[in-house]
């Protein structure tokens, strides 16, 4: 039927209608395929947006959980006590003063003897006296009362006396850190409905806490302990990040002073001076491979070479720094090389053309232009090293260190390792929040390092 119809039409109305029909058909086909292609594009856009959205949602989830858990830990329960440095309890000699003709050793000896004498003073009695001013019945229940203040505060008071013995016989109002379990109870991190057998604090201490909180004697205040103290296990409330922070800082400095110069120097040589032959190809392939080696392997290397072979100290930032340097080197080399590659050859040619030597061309003209890229690469490499945990575990840096290291040869931990250690503490109710707080500090450091990198890039960037 159709065939016939079209036949008759084509005979009666020749070419024109035929062409129009063809055009129509073509247009239909194009518009159909256009629709399909448009759909394809929308689908792809949607998929892309979904991917970005999912990624953002995960990042948001991460930040929300960490911030919601960690931020409260920056405020910690403190108790305000009227501390009387009772001369009856603190019976010690005068603090030794160095005499004119006294040798340093002899003075240190006398100082040590005095410190030892001070060490025998029972500062818990002073704290208990202060607590009983707030809670009269505290004296009858000493054990319950002493659970209010974290046990490390007695050393804090001792240090105050050691600094300035003239405070003996005077009194002052101090905010002391409350026990970790008091903090947990006040923040409701333990189910307050649970019975006595499942609570960490006795019923009496819990009542006191509620009473003191209502009076304003117990309060959540900004916790300087978190930043100023090293880690602690005997006085959990005073555990802080100072030791780990200084350890990390030392390692970063070592990485900065070793990885950056060595990495940049080798990159410049390989990129600008080295002949292109099989050997340099091999080196290049190996550097790329090295960048892909899992970090834990560097830890094994550090343990067997630096510690067992060179007999360097265990858990020391110097070893950590060296291991992280090895890890960061390939990153710095690759970043520097790609920056150098991106600098137009015309710069080199121009320098060489007006008679500069190759060294002059590189150091006077190419390198200054490459500085922003090199800095960015180095900073990103250092930031990566800052967050590295696995190799440090193998060189003994996961130890419990309760002091702030003074030199890179002293034992220390690092920030990410401290997070790992706190995550493993038995008192979950307290340390869950503390761990997240440590993560926030580490993330803040990372973000600021990356921000510096971005700023450097933007500030010094040259476009051709």
């Amino acid at each position: 039927m159709n065939m016939e119809a079209s036949n008759t039409e084509s005979t009666s109305l020749p070419d024109q209608t035929d062409l129009a029909k063809k055009r129509d058909l073509m247009q239909q086909r194009v518009s159909r395929s256009l629709k399909r292609r448009h759909n394809q594009e929308t689908r792809f856009k949607l998929m892309g947006m979904a991917a970005v959205g999912t990624a953002l949602a995960f990042v948001l989830l991460l930040f929300v959980t960490i911030l919601s858990k960690g931020l409260p830990a920056f405020w910690q329960a403190h108790i305000s006590l009227e501390i009387y440095f009772d001369e009856e309890i603190i019976q010690i000699d005068e603090k030794p003063v160095r005499m004119v003709n006294e040798s340093e050793a002899a003075f240190n000896q006398r100082m040590l003897a005095w410190q030892t004498q001070l060490g025998f003073v029972n500062f818990n009695r002073i704290i208990l006296d202060a607590i009983s001013k707030e809670i009269p019945e505290a004296r009858d229940y000493q054990r319950d009362a002493m659970r209010l203040v974290t046990s490390g505060e007695r050393f804090g008071l001792r240090n105050m006396v050691q600094e300035d013995p003239s405070i003996i016989g005077t009194s002052q109002r101090l905010w002391l850190l409350a026990d970790a379990n008091v903090d947990v109870w006040m923040k409701g991190n333990i189910n307050r409905e649970l019975g006595d057998a499942q609570q960490q604090l006795s019923a009496r201490t819990r009542d006191w806490v509620d009473e003191l909180e209502a009076k304003g004697v117990l309060k959540n205040r900004f916790s300087t302990a978190l930043f100023m103290n090293p880690d602690s296990r005997s006085s959990l409330a005073s555990a802080g990040l100072a030791g780990a922070f200084v350890g990390s800082l030392m390692m970063m400095l070592i990485v900065m002073f070793l990885a950056v110069p060595i990495g940049v120097a080798s990159a410049i040589y390989l990129e600008e001076f080295a002949p292109k032959n099989k050997l340099t190809d091999l080196i290049e392939v190996n550097i790329n491979n090295l960048a892909a080696v899992p970090s834990i392997v560097f830890g094994l290397l550090g343990a067997s070479v630096f510690i067992l072979w060179f007999k360097m100290p265990l858990s020391a930032p110097i070893v950590g720094g060296l291991v992280l340097t090895l890890m960061t080197l390939p990153t710095v080399i690759i970043a520097t090389r790609s920056t150098l590659k991106a600098i137009p050859p015309s710069i080199r040619s121009a320098a060489l053309g007006i008679g500069a030597s190759k060294v002059q061309a590189v150091f006077h003209h190419v390198l200054p232009l490459a500085i922003p890229g090199i800095l960015t690469g180095s900073i990103l490499g250092i930031a990566q090293a800052l967050g590295e945990t696995a190799p440090l575990l193998l060189i003994g840096m996961s130890s419990f260190v309760a002091s702030v290291p003074g030199t890179p040869f002293e034992q220390s931990t690092a920030l990410p390792v401290q997070i790992y250690l706190w995550q493993g503490n038995e008192l979950r109710n307290f340390f869950e929040a503390r761990t997240s707080a440590a993560i926030i500090v580490l993330l803040a450091l990372m973000i600021s390092l990356n921000a510096v990198a971005i700023w450097l890039r933007k500030h010094f960037e040259t476009r051709w």
Binding site: S234, L258, L308, F310, M312, G396, V401, E410, E426
Partner: protein, 343 residues
Amino acid sequence: MTFRNKALAIAMTAAASVAFTAPAMARDTIQIAGSSTVLPFSSIVAEEFGNSFPQFNTPVVGSGGSGGGLRQFCQGVGAHTIDIANASRPIRPAELENCKENGVTEVIEVMFGYDGIVFASRSDSGSFALEPHHVFQAGAAQVPQNGEMVANPFTRWSQIDSTLPDQEIVLIIPGSNHGTREVYEETVVHPGCDSFDEVKAMDRDAKTAFCNAIRTDGRVVEIAGDYTETLARLDSQRDALGVFGLSFYDQNRDRLQVATVSGVVPSLETIGSGEYPVSRPLFFYIKNQHVGVIPGLMEYAQYFLSEEVGGMGSPLEDAGLIPMDMAERDEITSAVMSRTLMD
């Protein structure tokens, strides 16, 4: 030119500093590693020790399990090796032999208290009244049935004994690097295993191998890391039953409950009296060759053993250690202070 010179100078100093750090450094901080059960106690003592003695640094305490700590301890003598190994079980003859081969010939053993091993589950799961043979039947690869050894058929606790809760068997035990594992095997699994007539008929070696074999169908999970990992498992799996030290349970009483073993509830009292069957002494080992080289070693040991640190009402007892009685404490203190070596 100046830029190049500077860069060169920095690179040279860096290289030089690497070369010069190589020689061994004298160390004046005690270095400790080992059992994660002992770690909390050891850390508390280390911190208090450092705070109380102005002349000594605060010792550094690492973990790694009893086995890991003793291996590090036996690596040799010198400032790059640890001074004290913590262990939740006595050192094995083979380990001592390995020590001697590496030059660690003088070792002082110090026992400082007791710890109980508990079976804990989430407080919202069923409560367990365990007997040693229940634990064996839940975790073994093969169990005796009607005179024959068959592959472990049990999937729910109630199939083993109708008094146990009707829930899936998921048993989370410490890995073999933990001293706790050995105590768990010796004080729970073996007595449970021995209670079967079929096992009694076996010879010694075959019996040990048979009793220690754990099922591999995923119902027994070995944890090589710290006990927080065990706790995380319990948090995420309502049915799981975990094995760890009493001190660890003590700090998490709000979310855990403990099983009774042979009808006894684990507590400081029942473990101290020996009524609760699953308890063990805790140790640390001192490298005598480091005494006098690393300052404070013997003072640390003495401080650890003193009544006010590890006795009744002490910080260690608060942290869950079961103190020794006075007579035992005096005997061990005098043996350690006279530096009695292991042979």
